[in-house]
Symmetry: C2
Subunit: 187 residues, 2 copies
DNA sequence: TGTACATCAGTGAACGCGCGTTCACTGATGTAC
DNA sequence: TGTACATCAGTGAACGCGCGTTCACTGATGTAC
């Protein structure tokens, strides 16, 4: 069979998106090549027509997870005045919805310690992607916004990571609500 | 060779402590049975004289990590008045020392998302161990202390997890310092 | 006191399985002549 | 217009390796008689 010119690109993209989902659900060591290919409607052998190694897929899939959740937030920010955007970000990040669906949520909340153990190039890339959010943070100066970004982003990611450990849904809700209240009243 | 009565207990304990260290350094899927046994001065085969499975070791090693870092904090709290203890905890948790040495630090900062994906019994156990820290938190009522615990503990764990991703030591320091200042001035 | 046997933490080779990677092959379409 | 060949995404079996687990064995000491 011969395919349209963009066929291969689309297939590759589909593999990366499926990997990004599985990664956030199962962790960096979770999904095998075969399982990602199967989820993409393909068989193992074809994998190396698209990627040089599993590592290459991993790096792209982590970044893909970032793009996806960035996109998701950005679209919900359309009608919110610039000065209030940080509040909307907090409400989305600390929602039960986000907490309950790691596979489509923020990769930092789902993978932070595993990314910290990854190789330098991946850490560097992710560190860069995170910083995109500085501009939405509250504060009059760039330095202030960076400090608030560090505080708000860390606090939110920690809250969601830990909420996901808790076995009692009520505890989970209380944790998320506590952090939401705290952050919304702190800046 | 015949050993003293406590020999086996001590050996088992040594294995668990080595596993606890390796786990925090390499992640839940990191260390193999052979590597933990080697670090303990033993060979693979003997492992099953002490544990029914690798899973059993994992569960104990995570809990062990908790005991160790609890012990470490508690000892540094000896001469601090009860009302100021939460501040001392924050200073320890957000220190460069803690950030730079995951292998002997808080298991939540090193493993949160992986624990969240672990089986129910482990999550339950860890959730229980975390709550031991509620009593040290600021606040006049139990409800208040629990809310502050959620906020402070999540914020600290998130900060350390994310700081460990950052490749620039200066960024790392600024993140930790920002969170330290924020928390110390918030309660 | 001496001999035969039991005990048990630890050894290290072997087994089985899953996983990343390789490879010869397929089959539909495009191209050369 | 027809035939031979090239292309290339995808297939699925096979390979090699690491890892969890099993197992027969070791060797020092305790116990029975």
């Amino acid at each position: 069979m011969r395919y349209e010119p963009e066929h291969k690109t689309r297939t590759r993209d589909r593999i990366v998106r499926n990997a990004a989902r599985k990664l956030r659900a199962e962790g960096l060591g979770g999904p095998g090549v075969a399982s990602v290919m199967k989820a993409s409607g393909l068989t193992v052998g074809g994998f190396y027509k698209h990627f040089r190694s599993k590592d290459e897929l991993l790096a792209e899939a982590i970044a893909q997870g970032f793009s996806e959740s960035s996109e998701k937030i950005r679209s919900s920010l359309q009608n919110v005045p610039h000065a209030d955007r940080w509040k909307e970000i907090i409400r989305w990040y600390l929602s039960a919805e986000h907490c309950d669906h790691p596979e489509v949520g923020c990769p930092v909340a789902a993978l932070a310690p595993e990314i910290a153990r990854a190789k330098f190039s991946i850490r560097k890339r992710i560190a860069g992607l995170m910083k995109e959010w500085v501009e939405f943070m509250p504060g009059p100066t760039a330095g202030e916004r960076e400090r608030n970004f560090f505080v708000i982003f860390s606090a939110m990611a920690g809250a969601v990571s830990i909420a996901r450990i808790l076995t009692e849904p009520a505890d989970r809700q209380r944790l998320l609500a506590s952090m939401r209240d705290h952050l919304l009243h702190s800046f």
